[in-house]
């Protein structure tokens, strides 16, 4: 079992649900983004999801897209990003860090190089524009114990779902609804889907897209293993900086205790 999956299973023995929080490397500056990451780790986020920005993030909504474009003005490099995460992760061994980006920046860096550089600080990788039939791209990551985190959607064709589940390790990213990140989701409607999924796999289920309130997380307890929060924390940060982000984080965190 991958390190990520073992970690989630162990944490879940004493917790109803875990919290995964998203930060964009380089937004609003590289230094600030590292401070946000460190703050979330210090506050006890279970999994930190670091997005390496890409110029054309087609699965992301306006909040994250705009932040990615701001981040790119700071000319982030993946090599430095991985080095920075490495330095940070060793100081917070009780949490896990996963990387999220789009295919092209990973492809240009090279998946072999990524396997060499990203482990052991990074234990999972999310690439929303990498389809399951192209799984061979991420093959080199396995040896480095970096779990490719595949996405499932509500109306997934059964053969394709089976293919995804058999490739899954670490965790699954269950997209709660159609559309892009940010925006509202009706969470009562997604639980049936999650329950069906849970019967078919032992891989932990993470749910993302549209989680902004503690009630959303409460609604997922018993149906999912990880609540994934992205735009909501970013919006809090944009409204009133780090203190507001911490306040929002803490209110979400109470729902997971």
């Amino acid at each position: 079992m991958s390190t990520l999956q073992t970690y989630i299973k162990t944490q879940r023995e004493s917790r109803p649900i875990l919290l995964m929080t998203h930060v964009i490397y380089g937004y609003p500056t590289i230094k600030d983004s590292l401070e946000i990451m460190e703050t979330l780790l210090r506050e006890g986020t279970d999994i930190l999801e670091v997005q390496f920005p890409f110029s054309d993030p087609v699965a992301d909504g306006p909040t994250i897209t705009n932040a990615c474009h701001v981040a790119l003005e700071n000319a982030p490099t993946l090599r430095q990003c991985l080095a920075d995460i490495n330095a940070l992760a060793t100081r917070y061994p009780d949490s896990k860090v996963v990387l999220m980006s789009y295919l092209n920046p990973m492809l240009q860096f090279g998946f072999e190089a990524l396997a060499d550089t990203a482990a052991p600080a990074i234990s999972g990788l999310i690439i929303p524009d990498l389809p399951i039939e192209q799984a061979s791209f991420v093959e080199p990551l396995k040896a480095a114990d970096i779990a490719p985190i595949w996405l499932t959607i509500p109306q997934m064709d059964s053969a394709r779902l089976a293919q995804t589940l058999s490739a899954a390790s670490g965790m699954l990213y269950c997209v709660s609804r159609s559309g892009v990140t940010g925006g509202a989701t009706a969470f009562d409607a997604v639980t049936d889907n999650l329950d069906t999924l849970k019967q078919q796999t032992s891989v932990p289920l993470g749910v993302g897209f549209g989680i902004s309130k503690p009630e959303h997380i409460t609604a997922l307890i018993g149906h999912a293993d990880i609540a994934i929060v992205g735009s909501a924390l970013l919006n809090a940060y944009n409204e009133a900086g780090l203190t507001q982000l911490v306040t929002r984080f803490k209110s979400l965190q109470t729902a997971t205790r």
Partner: protein
């Protein structure tokens, strides 16, 4: 094309999972439609009765004489309804959207040509139409925005990133991610995930098929070379593909912009700023930096101002079936003026790139050689840009007077 929509190492489908089902539906609907003689007949009828096909092949005796080399002929896609080849594609996809039972189409547009074509066909077919357009392009191309609105389309300004074509494409994909149940994404060029490159190139291939049948009468034989400008690559695919495997040399012309520096042009070939990449749903040669971030582009013609290129053309270049060259803004303006004054044809700035390459090469060729240039569109839409580039002072006076009158009224 392979089953996964691959053209050699290019093409394929790299889209968020949420779009997978709609992409598969589109793929099968397209295959079914193309196997249905009635669909093809309807498409041809619309192309003839609505868009005015076939378009003529026009000899350019004065221009050829002046250049003193090869004989130049133009394939007149500018005479399509809407003034560009874009019409061929929107007729095909519009009819397909109807066949699939969709109520709405979304489109991305740079210059606004594809946006106008989409709005026209949507009005005719009774489809709702939303066009995504970079805020920066809206500033440069307001007249097209005006027409889209008159046709009942909704134009959505895209302010993210560079606020140009690639960002409009991203935004259209985001819309499609939540609207696929009733919406068809009507891509304007032969790029994007499968089956778009193949489908758009297929709908545009009527251009080359017509040239194949017109050439014996007009040229006396098939041409030695064919030139087409290459933005996303749809007019080029359209005229080139029916000539694949023949002795006719195929020449693509990219936007050379104002120089070879980063952000000064839109050349995806013959530059070390472009290399294999995967973005916007497909694999091709992308202009990108070391980190794999897509680079800004520049061109006097908004329609060629794009970072990626059709995977079909990228593969043809790899196989030496297609030669790519470029024309700089300055040469493009010269070509525009020359064609206007020698032959009385006002070409689009995009198409003027192809004309510029033919003008550059024709004098080196013998008088027996025959070149066909795909005149992808007419230049009326470029009125403001050309007037500005030619520094026509009376045009500014006219606008100042117009504004003064409008403010009084």
């Amino acid at each position: 094309m392979s089953d996964e929509g691959r053209f050699g190492q290019y093409g394929g489908s790299f889209i968020p999972e949420i779009l997978f089902n709609s992409q598969q539906d589109l793929l099968s609907a397209y295959r079914e439609a193309m196997a249905d003689p009635e669909f093809k007949a309807e498409m041809l009828a619309q192309m003839q009765q609505y868009s005015g096909r076939p378009t003529p092949l026009t000899p350019c005796p004065n221009l050829s004489q002046q250049l003193g080399g090869a004989q130049i002929y133009l394939k007149r896609e500018d005479l399509n309804h809407s003034g560009a080849h874009k019409m061929n594609n929107v007729i095909g996809q519009g009819l397909l959207a109807k066949r699939m039972g969709k109520k709405r189409v979304i489109a991305e547009t740079g210059a606004g040509q594809h946006g106008v074509a989409s709005a026209l066909v949507s009005a005719r077919l009774g489809l709702e139409c939303t066009v995504y357009m970079g805020a920066h392009d809206i500033e440069r191309q307001y007249p097209n925005v005006f027409w889209m609105k008159q046709l009942g389309a909704t134009v959505v300004p895209v302010t993210t990133g560079a606020a140009t074509l690639k960002d409009a494409l991203d935004e259209a994909m985001r819309d499609w991610s939540s609207s696929f149940n009733d919406t068809h994404y009507l891509i304007g060029t032969s790029c994007g995930c499968a089956p778009y490159p193949e489908m758009v190139a297929g709908f545009q291939s009527i251009i080359g098929e017509e040239v194949l049948s017109q050439a014996p009468e007009v040229l006396g034989r098939q041409p030695d070379k064919i030139y087409a400008c290459v933005g996303g690559g749809s007019n080029a695919c359209g005229i080139f593909l029916p000539y694949k495997g023949t002795t006719t040399e195929l020449v693509g012309v990219e936007a050379g912009g104002i120089g070879d520096g980063v952000g000064e042009h839109a050349m995806r070939f013959n530059t070390d700023q472009a290399r294999f990449g995967i973005a916007q749903g497909y694999a091709t040669e992308f202009l990108q930096d070391e980190q794999g971030q897509l680079l800004p582009t520049q061109s006097i013609s908004a329609g060629l101002d794009y970072v990626g290129v059709s995977p079909i053309l990228a593969d043809m270049v790899k196989r030496n079936e297609l030669r790519m060259t470029a024309a700089r803004d300055e040469a493009v303006l010269d070509a525009f003026k020359r064609l206007a004054t020698t032959e009385g044809i006002i070409a689009a700035l995009e198409s003027s790139h192809a004309v510029a390459a033919a003008i550059a090469e024709a004098p080196k060729l013998s008088r027996d050689e025959k070149l066909v240039v795909n005149l992808s569109g007419r230049g009326d839409k470029d009125l403001f840009n050309i007037a500005s580039a030619l520094k026509d002072a009376p045009f500014n006076d006219f606008l100042a007077d117009y504004l003064a009158r409008e403010k009084q009224a």
